[in-house]
């Protein structure tokens, strides 16, 4: 696979390490009353779609950026790649 790094252009996926669902970006509020349940769902339950899927990859043999890659799990086609830090900053 090739991941089109937003800053560095196309790079072989073997430079990257895959972690999992991009929902892991959204760590629940530990102070919430429902924290126990929120964290259980955050950590363990997955949509696991057959189709478009946003996932986290780490450019380990590159610039050490975490990326959010939107990829079709049926065809492996990648339609979007963004820096996770940008998305995280927009959120926070």
């Amino acid at each position: 696979m090739i991941i089109n790094h937003p800053l560095l252009g196309p790079r072989d996926a073997s430079e990257f390490v895959h972690m999992g669902d991009a929902s892991l970006m959204h760590r629940p509020d530990p102070k919430s009353e429902t924290a126990a349940d929120d964290f259980y769902r955050y950590q363990y339950l997955r949509d696991n779609p057959a189709g478009l899927y946003a996932e986290l990859w780490f450019h380990e043999q590159g610039d050490r950026s975490w990326l959010v890659v939107t990829r079709n799990t049926l065809t492996h086609e990648i339609i979007d790649v963004q820096l996770a830090r940008h998305i995280a900053r927009q959120k926070s």
């Binding site: 996926a13 363990y44 696991n48 057959a50 492996h76």
Partner: protein
């Protein structure tokens, strides 16, 4: 129809006219007591045990394509019960025992070949972990032999003892482990279940559940609605897709695991060899092909195919540990979809929807589990209590912190 050497000779002499279809091709009935979704190894085994052991009647197995077309038809055929945690080991040992009498149970030769499974040891911490595992195995009634470097050399003289990046310092051998002709497992269970009256319905895809007031009443299929007293889901690889039709999310991701086979070679290997430090395991089929594999690709996928980095990684492991196989040529590579669970262990449990039962999350342990999975799932369906060996495989274990995490990798499925 009973199979035997005598029958084969008789048919050979009479032009093979007497062989009958191995299973019928029935039309779906409007209602069944139990509908099993998934005509793979686990679904068919469940049907067999439900009908034969638990004497249940009126059962259907629904298969969206052709039976045995999922992971039972695309794996590396290894059977073993060498797990390190009690929650798993008792179950896999039951499976091993069922494999050992499979041919007699089914009157079908699936070529269960107990030529041993050897896990190589390269370091002291690895030996410590394997000793702990071996003791777990023995406590659960399985067999385990700890070999030193000399013992490994005697068992598998072809390995790279002299020029390896990681020296071989020993091995954990399970002599009863081995391989089974994978497709035949599906056919054998299908034949047996069919003979006990189970309807095996191919080209029949489940497209939805009929759930009313928290109880499942039946399934919608590509061949019309079917009412059911109980619905059993055994579709590992696609568990999330099917359970999403019931509105449920699972602690499971789908990943691709590739496997490889070489051209046929004259006998080379004594049994199954696992080089964990190099992500490579291998056995030799009765036809002579080296059947080998390694890690999952590591990204979520439903594509049933993988990519080159893992292919190369696996072959590097192969050449590192068996440097004579350089000229053996890889003939085919393929990929299967694994239900990778959040702790690397399976789930066999009721769901919170009454009458809906779930079997999945097999990671890449599914093939060897086939008989016990079928038996335990049948037990659950017939008695509404978990089988003694499968009590740990609950859906709520993640919420409660009772994970069965053999590799200690936590909630990251691609690391299990």
């Amino acid at each position: 129809m009973k199979y035997s050497g005598f029958k084969v000779i008789k048919e050979a002499l009479t032009g093979h006219k007497g062989w009958k279809p191995v299973w019928r091709k029935p039309e779906p009935k409007p209602a069944y007591d139990i509908v099993i979704i998934g005509g793979g190894g686990h679904g068919l085994a469940t049907a067999h045990y439900l009908a034969k052991k638990y004497k249940q009647k009126n059962i259907a197995v629904l298969e969206k394509g052709w039976i045995g077309g999922g992971n039972v038809g695309r794996n590396t055929t290894i059977v073993r019960s060498n797990y390190g945690l009690h929650g798993n080991e008792g179950f896999y040992e039951l499976s091993m025992q069922l494999w050992e009498r499979l041919e007699q149970d089914l009157n079908y030769n699936a070529m269960v070949s107990q030529r041993g499974v050897l896990n190589l040891i390269h370091s002291d911490p690895q030996r410590d972990a394997f000793v702990r595992r071996a003791n777990t195995m023995i406590m659960n009634g399985a067999d385990a032999v700890l070999l030193d470097a000399k013992g490994v050399r005697e068992h598998s003289p072809l390995l790279n003892f002299d020029n390896g990046r990681f020296p071989i310092t020993g091995g954990l051998l399970q002599p009863r482990g081995g391989t089974v002709r994978h497709d035949a497992v599906a056919w054998g269970y299908a034949r047996s279940a069919d003979s006990a009256g189970v309807d095996i319905i191919e080209n029949c895809e489940a497209t939805g559940f009929d759930i009313q007031a928290g109880t499942v009443m039946g399934v919608q299929t590509s061949r019309g609605p079917i009412k059911a007293g109980k619905v059993a889901v055994a579709v590992a690889g696609n568990s999330s897709r099917v359970m999403a039709m019931a509105g449920r999310r699972l602690p499971i991701e789908s990943h691709v695991l590739q496997a490889f086979v070489s051209e046929g070679l004259k006998p080379l290997l004594p049994g199954v060899i696992t080089f964990g430090a190099g992500h490579f395991y291998v056995s030799q089929s009765d036809k002579g092909g080296l059947v080998f594999g390694g890690d999952i690709d590591g990204y979520n996928s439903y594509a049933q195919r993988g990519n080159l980095p893992v292919v190369e990684d696996v072959c590097e492991g192969g050449m590192a540990i068996m440097p004579m196989i350089g000229k053996a040529r890889m003939l085919r590579m393929w990929g299967g979809i694994m239900d990778m669970s959040m702790d690397g262990s399976p789930i066999i449990d009721r769901t919170d929807i009454s009458g809906l039962y779930f079997n999945g999350g097999w990671c890449y342990g599914g093939f060897k589990a086939t008989p016990a999975s079928g038996l335990a799932f049948a037990h659950l369906l017939a008695t509404d209590t978990p089988h003694d060996t499968a009590t740990a495989f609950t859906l709520d274990r993640f919420e409660r912190g009772l994970m069965i995490d053999e590799k200690g990798q936590g909630a990251q499925p691609n690391l299990h």
